[in-house]
């Protein structure tokens, strides 16, 4: 194992190169600037494409073009920029063009702030643009996991012909920690994309088109149902999560990304003090890992959602819970990063109340 100390944004950029990224299009925005900065140097050295677009609107449309032409394409941005990209993301999903999008979230709404946040959860998991669609979205907890997921994300995008979103926040983007870039294999999968508008109609013997327009409602419904079938396959096969110390837990935290990192500290401290606390950590935000909530032990009485947004993921927890357990929420937002002590205090209050009852 060879570990190198890297900044999150740079490690993610390098992982994209190792995942087979052919082209990057982006626009500067804090706290993700090190991604385009790193790629401006290293994509050139690798003889791959780097373009700084004039805006996020332009950048995502460049992604649409290059992805349509069969390339493995990456763009990255942060919340307000991702908001601008929604139109293009909807086109990408609608016309089934694969790509990878990294969102280094910051506080909102509007210009908001630049500190870490998870307030784009709804935007990520509910589509964000117009129409019935979903993004396969991953929320790594540390840089190693981010690197491993990004390396596979181009394969996933190609396999489903769908955009893949990597959702992190300013904390993971800006921090440094050692990563092993060889822990998972580099992507070697380079099948020819027979559907691509890559100017190879002569060989193919037929011209390809990439469109999201279907004027006949019956045709569009058919298309939507075909997409739905694809999303169902993702729900079936792509749910990822971690269950930590849930075997005898009374209280289970639900947390992802940076928040899960901090919650992990809280679980460890609480366990040391003898409290029966565990955690479910969604790694995919969409599909939401419903499977993680199956077969929880009888000891569980409460699920506590912890997030850096005001209860956005909590809605999904409510849906999967279906009235089984007590639910509670502890949320910080606006760029405030919670401390483990806050989670510990909240957990103790819940456990005390439950004991008294």
């Amino acid at each position: 194992m060879s570990r190198v100390l890297m900044k999150g944004n740079e490690a993610m950029a390098l992982a994209a190169i190792k995942g087979g990224c052919d082209a990057f299009f982006g626009y500067p925005i804090t706290p993700q600037n090190e991604i385009p900065e790193y790629l401006s140097e290293h994509m050139a050295k690798e003889d791959r494409v780097f373009v700084q677009a004039e805006s996020e609107v332009a950048a995502i449309n460049m992604v649409y073009g290059a992805g349509g032409a069969g390339a493995r394409v990456l763009t990255s941005s942060s919340s307000p920029g991702i908001a601008l990209k929604q139109e293009g993301i909807s086109y990408l999903a609608g016309s089934e063009v694969p790509c990878v999008i990294i969102n280094v979230m910051r506080g909102g709404p509007g210009l908001g702030g630049i500190q870490p946040s998870q307030a784009d959860y709804n935007q990520i998991t509910r589509g964000g643009g117009n129409g019935d669609y979903h993004l396969l979205s991953y929320a790594p907890e540390n840089l190693q996991e981010a690197v491993d997921l990004i390396k596979q994300s181009f394969d996933k995008a190609d396999a489903y012909r769908n955009p893949v979103m990597i959702a992190v926040d300013g904390l993971l983007g800006q921090m440094m920690e050692p990563v092993d870039l060889e822990r998972t294999p580099d992507s070697k999968q380079r099948e020819r994309k027979e559907w691509a508008t890559d100017g190879d109609a002569g060989r193919r013997g037929k011209a390809n088109t990439i469109v999201s327009l279907h004027l006949d409602p019956n045709k569009l419904e058919e298309h939507n149902l075909a997409l739905k079938e694809k999303y169902d396959r993702m729900v079936e096969n792509e749910q990822r999560y971690e269950r930590l110390e849930t075997e005898d837990a009374e209280l289970v935290f639900i947390a992802y990304g940076s928040t899960a990192r901090i919650a992990r500290s809280a679980v460890e401290s609480l366990r040391e003090e003898g409290y029966k606390v565990g955690m479910i950590r969604p790694i995919t935000l969409w599909p939401f890992p419903e499977n993680a909530f199956k077969k929880l032990p009888d000891t569980v009485h409460t699920l506590l959602t912890l997030e850096m947004s005001l209860g956005q993921m909590h809605q999904d927890v409510k849906i999967v819970n279906q009235g089984r357990y007590h639910l509670d929420l502890y949320a910080r937002t606006g760029g405030v990063v919670p401390e483990p002590e806050e989670f510990i205090e909240k957990a103790k209050a819940i456990l005390k109340k439950e004991d008294a009852a």
Binding site: V4, P31, P178, R261, I262, R264, V337, E339
Partner: protein
């Protein structure tokens, strides 16, 4: 070792980010777990800049440090901002060239370093951060001198190689000051 949480603070341009990165790099070499997290945004330019570094033999959860075990303070505004957070009995390395000593806490272990003065004697104000770093490395005893020198050699390459010698001297001077 048990977890060591450090905050390094000064004003933009004093090289506090680099100090943290050098420590994190040394920790990486020694096979430890480590995280480095900077303050980021426009305020890091004119104003104060700081970074949090954590070392541990176990995987590290939060890179955000609320109660540091050690604090490296390079200017006065940073003292006001961070001193109160330092854990009781923790290590406080202060750059007395820019910090008023009368305001220092008395329930912590204080290492006074006249870093700017020392750096000027060595020949360049810019290496004041390395004097501070040397003092911390000595005081904490977590890293060996060799471990940091190895990182210096990796960092100061090409154009920057000429800086290696002066930075090493500054680092050593800091170690000596902390030994007194």
């Amino acid at each position: 070792m048990t977890e060591e949480k450090v905050i390094i603070a000064g004003f933009g341009g004093q090289g506090v980010m680099l100090m943290g990165q050098l420590l994190a790099q040394a920790a990486t070499h020694e096979g430890m777990h480590t995280t480095w997290f900077p303050s980021y945004g426009p305020e890091t330019r004119g104003g104060t800049a700081n970074c949090s570094v954590v070392f541990d033999n176990h995987p590290i959860n939060s890179p955000v440090v609320s109660v540091p075990d050690s604090l490296l303070i390079l200017n006065h505004p940073s003292l006001a901002k961070f001193q109160g957070k330092l854990k009781e009995g923790g290590v406080l390395v202060v750059n007395t060239s820019l910090v008023e000593e009368k305001d220092l806490r008395d329930d912590v272990r204080i290492i006074k370093v006249d870093a700017n003065q020392k750096a000027l004697e060595i020949g360049n104000l810019k290496v004041a951060n390395m004097v501070m770093l040397g003092a911390y490395v000595k005081a904490s005893g977590i890293f060996s001198r060799e471990s940091l020198l190895k990182v210096f050699k990796e960092r100061f390459t090409g154009e920057k190689q000429k800086l290696l010698e002066m930075n090493t001297r500054a680092f050593d001077a800091g170690m000596e000051l902390a030994a007194d």
